[in-house]
Each structure stands twice: as structure tokens, then as C-alpha cells.
């Protein structure tokens, strides 16, 4: 069991091209905004080591339902912001693909899914904090919803693309994919709660860390900071 990534060769050629294009566009926008703001060393360092941490966390086997692996994409989004979060999603997917998890051809699609998780988690977290939620419920909800959005997007990508070599009508495919999305939703809940605990822990050992981020975010517009 794992946070499932789309596998190699499962889509027809046109879909591979489409999702690659969409993924490239998303990353293109992020890169454009980063470059326009003048790339800061601290952003590169945070994204680089953040991706390394996320990738390392993926090596840990969490004993739920026989073992799950997670990248903590929601958490990364919350800590690094939407733009760096999207970059980290891409880089983690590049390394995952090189090590046989995820897919080279579907790098675009998988990045799209993970970037969505990071970005959604970030904005939901900010919104909930502004509504005076406590740290634990805010992060747990933000991560769960963000990850769920990713799971649903992934299902949608499969349904839109159609599975390579399957003659199944789209309606039936949707039923089949529902199971997969359901599994990922389950993982999203576990990961969301875990993210909540992690952030709660971070807030207790390095209270300044979250305040610091708050302060930084307060000074500039959110996209501007991360971007």
C-alpha cells in the first residue's frame, strides 16, 4: 500500500502528451515567477534540502494496512509555500521515477497531482489559521483536504485519459477508478492526521518556526514569498 503514483504506460500517447504539456506549463509559471523575483539562495537551499527530506521520508515504512509510504507533500507545501512546494513535488517525482516509482512518461501528470496537494494544503492552512483555528486541526484538515484534492485529480486524470488498451466505457472506468481514489483518500486521512501531529510537534520544539513563517508571509503576498 502506498500513496499511489500513476504507472508507466497506462495512458495512450495523446494523454501522455497532454499531461506533460499541462505539467510543463504549471512548472513554467512557477519558474517564471521565481526568476522574476530574482532567485534567492535561501529558496534554492530550502527547496533542495526539503526535497531531499521528503524523499528520505519516503523510505520509511509506516505500518498501516500492511505498510504505506508517504512524501508528506501536504506538509512540504505548508512549510515551503506553494511555489517551492510545486518545485519540490517535481524534483521528488524525478528522483522517484529514476528509482522505479512513479513514471518517466507521466512525470507531468504525477507532478501535477503532487503540486496540487502542496498548493491546496498551503492555501487551506493559511485560510484556516486566519480563521483562528488551532495548529493541529488546521494542519490536519489542510493536509487531508489537499491530499484528497490530489487523489480526486488523479482519478480524473485516469478517467479523462482512459487506460491504454482497455475497451471499457468511461462510465465503467469511473467505477473502477473509484476504488483507487478511495484508497488514496484513505492514505490522505492518515497522512493528514500525521501531518497535524508533525506540525504540532514542530510548533512545540521550534515555536519560532511557524511564527517566523507567519511573519514572513504577513510581510509579502503569499505567492510573492514562495515565488
Amino acid at each position: 500500500m502506498a500513496h499511489i503514483h500513476l504507472g508507466e504506460g497506462s495512458f495512450p500517447l495523446w494523454a501522455v502528451a497532454l499531461w506533460t504539456l499541462v505539467g510543463v506549463t504549471l512548472i513554467g509559471i512557477v519558474v517564471y515567477r521565481l526568476r522574476r523575483g530574482g532567485i534567492k539562495t535561501h529558496q534554492i537551499a530550502l527547496a533542495g534540502i526539503g526535497a531531499a527530506a521528503s524523499f528520505a521520508v519516503f523510505q520509511l515504512n509506516l505500518p498501516v494496512w500492511g505498510g504505506i509510504h508517504m512524501n508528506l507533500t501536504g506538509l512540504v507545501g505548508i512549510l515551503a509555500g506553494p511555489a517551492l512546494g510545486a518545485l519540490i513535488a517535481l524534483v521528488v517525482n524525478v528522483f522517484s521515477a529514476a528509482l522505479g516509482h512513479g513514471a518517466v512518461g507521466l512525470l507531468g501528470a504525477n507532478t501535477l497531482v503532487n503540486a496540487t496537494e502542496a498548493i491546496a494544503a498551503y492555501y487551506i492552512f493559511r485560510t484556516l489559521l486566519r480563521m483562528d483555528w488551532d495548529v493541529f486541526p488546521a494542519t490536519a484538515s489542510a493536509a487531508t483536504i489537499g491530499l484528497s484534492a490530489g487523489a480526486v485529480l488523479m482519478g480524473a486524470i485516469i478517467v479523462v485519459s482512459g487506460v491504454n488498451g482497455s475497451a471499457l466505457p468511461r462510465a465503467d472506468l469511473t467505477v473502477a477508478v473509484a476504488g483507487l481514489v478511495g484508497l488514496n483518500l484513505g492514505v490522505a486521512v492518515v497522512e493528514g492526521i500525521l501531518t497535524g501531529f508533525v506540525v504540532q510537534f514542530l510548533a512545540s520544539v521550534r515555536p519560532d518556526l511557524l511564527d517566523l513563517i507567519d511573519r514572513e508571509r504577513g510581510e509579502e503576498d503569499p505567492a510573492g514569498v514562495a515565488a
Binding site: A2, I4, H5, L6, G7, E8, G9, S10, L13, V16, V31, I39, T41, Q43, A45, A47, G48, I49, G50, A51, A52, A53, F55, A56, V57, Q59, L60, N61, L62, P63, V64, G67, H69, L72, L75, L87, I88, L90, V91, F95, A98, L99, G100, A103, V104, G105, V163, G165, A167, L173, V175, A176, L180, V190, L194, F197, Q200, F201, V205, L209
Partner: protein, 271 residues
């Protein structure tokens, strides 16, 4: 260490094979291997015949063996990619219209049966996925660290290349940090075999991993700026252009894939 997963290749093991072994595959130019991955992705995407896909898969398994890599570990590493295939293809195998294999199973939802078409689909998706997985692993486990870094630096645009290079460098460090944390809690009697009972311990391990990452990045900034960093780690290292022989083979491979697609799959060109 036992606490880290068997199902995800340890980057240290990967580099150990790449740096300290030798085989014909090790000696193939890194660009050639990179190009071959692309050709394989294209091939498994367009091919729709089980014999062709099985042949491709068998060929990559042979390459993997020629490179002197361990088959047993490969089985563990297949778990995650196969999970996707199983979770998509199993429902499809049941729902796929066609001739049932054996009898149908009566369920409240109606009669369920695996069809021949469904079973073939399952086999096809498995071959597609495992072909590229096997080859990607064979490529990373036979290409030296410096060459991989050079390729990444070349292929990706700034600042993604910068981020990727740092990630590549620090993945090893972060894996060891995580290992150290796990080791330390185990030494004090924590049992990590049950998640819910130990969720706080997990949160602490993961939290400390991220905290270490953030603090390390703060120190990294200092040390990079102290050496005048301005957003560009250029690699002078060089992976030369592949020898003519390999270029010819690569062109032939692409031609074969495109030709196969045009003739056998899409029927654009008829012979």
C-alpha cells in the same frame, strides 16, 4: 537498516553499484541510457500487443542481468509500481467486456468474472510498467553519480537544476538523519510496528527530520554565500557525446519504435 523499507531502493545502494561495479552496461554512455529510457517509454505507450510488450520486458530483464544487478531485490522494488497496476487493473480485469475465464462468481452486485480481455490487460499494464521500472533502475545503478548529476544539470532549466543538484547531494544526508532518529527511539524501547499506538513517535521522527532539513538549509545558505554563490552551480564535469556506434543504435531504436507505431498500431502506413 531494517526499519527503512525494502520496497524503496536505498540511494546508497544505488550509488554503490554505480561506483564500485563494472559491466558492459556501466560502460555505455550516460546519454545513450537516458535516450533509451525515452525510447522505452514511447514503446510501452504505443505498443498494444502482449507478445511485443512481454518481449520488451524480457529484454530489459536481460540488460539488468548483464549489468550484474541483483534480481532478488528487484522483486521487492516491484511492490510499489505494481500496486498501481493492481489497483487499476484488477477492477478493470473484472469489468472489462469479453469472454469470461472459467465460471462467473455470483455476487450481490451481479455476476463477476475475470474476462480474457481483462486478464490480458492486466498482463499488458504490468509489462509496460515493469519494463521502464527495470530499465530505469538498471540505468541509475550503472551510471556514475557525477554523470547523473551532470545530466540533471544539463537537462533541467534553472533553478530546477540547482534544486535537483542539491537534492541529489543531500538525499544521502537526510536518509542518514532519519535512520539515526529511528535508531535512537528503538534503542529506548519504542516499537514502531504499530502505527496508531506510536503516532506521536512517528510524528516526532518525521518532525525532527524536517526540522533538521530546514536548519541544514539555513546553514547551507551561509556556506554557499560565503563562496560567492549567485544562483548557479555549474558543473564542469562532462559526459561526452555517445560514440557513433551507440548513436546509430539509438537512432535505430527510435526508428523501430516509431515505425512499429505507424505501421502496426495506428495503421498510418500500410506495407
Amino acid at each position: 537498516m531494517t526499519t527503512l523499507s525494502n520496497h524503496v531502493p536505498d540511494p546508497r545502494l544505488i550509488t554503490a553499484y554505480a561506483e564500485h561495479r563494472d559491466s558492459p552496461v556501466h560502460r555505455v554512455n550516460a546519454w545513450t541510457k537516458f535516450g533509451t529510457v525515452g525510447a522505452l517509454v514511447l514503446a510501452v505507450t504505443v505498443a498494444d500487443s502482449l507478445p511485443v510488450l512481454t518481449g520488451l520486458y524480457a529484454a530489459t530483464l536481460v540488460v539488468y542481468g548483464v549489468a550484474g544487478l541483483p534480481y532478488r531485490r528487484l522483486l521487492y522494488w516491484y511492490t510499489l509500481p505494481l500496486l498501481f497496476v493492481v489497483s487499476v487493473a484488477v477492477p478493470l480485469a473484472v469489468l472489462e467486456p469479453g469472454t469470461p475465464i472459467g465460471g462467473a462468481l455470483g455476487t450481490p452486485l451481479g455476476a463477476l468474472s475475470v474476462t480474457w480481455q481483462g486478464a490480458i490487460l492486466f498482463a499488458e499494464l504490468s509489462c509496460r510498467s515493469l519494463t521502464v521500472v527495470t530499465f530505469a533502475l538498471a540505468a541509475t545503478m550503472t551510471t556514475r553519480y557525477a554523470d547523473v548529476a551532470y545530466l540533471l544539470g544539463r537537462v533541467l532549466p534553472t533553478p530546477i537544476d540547482q534544486v535537483t543538484l542539491l537534492t541529489y547531494r543531500f538525499t544521502f544526508v537526510m536518509v542518514e538523519t532519519l535512520e539515526a532518529l529511528v535508531r535512537a527511539v528503538l534503542a529506548r524501547g519504542a516499537t514502531l510496528s504499530e502505527f496508531w499506538a506510536n503516532r506521536r513517535t512517528y510524528a516526532r521522527i518525521l518532525g525532527m527530520t524536517l526540522l533538521t532539513a530546514i536548519e541544514r538549509s539555513e546553514r547551507l545558505v551561509k556556506s554557499m554565500e560565503a563562496r560567492g554563490y549567485d544562483g548557479d552551480i555549474t558543473l564542469y564535469g562532462d559526459v561526452p557525446r555517445p560514440p557513433i556506434r551507440e548513436i546509430v543504435v539509438l537512432v535505430a531504436v527510435y526508428a523501430a519504435v516509431v515505425g512499429y507505431a505507424l505501421i502496426a498500431v495506428y495503421g498510418v502506413v500500410s506495407l
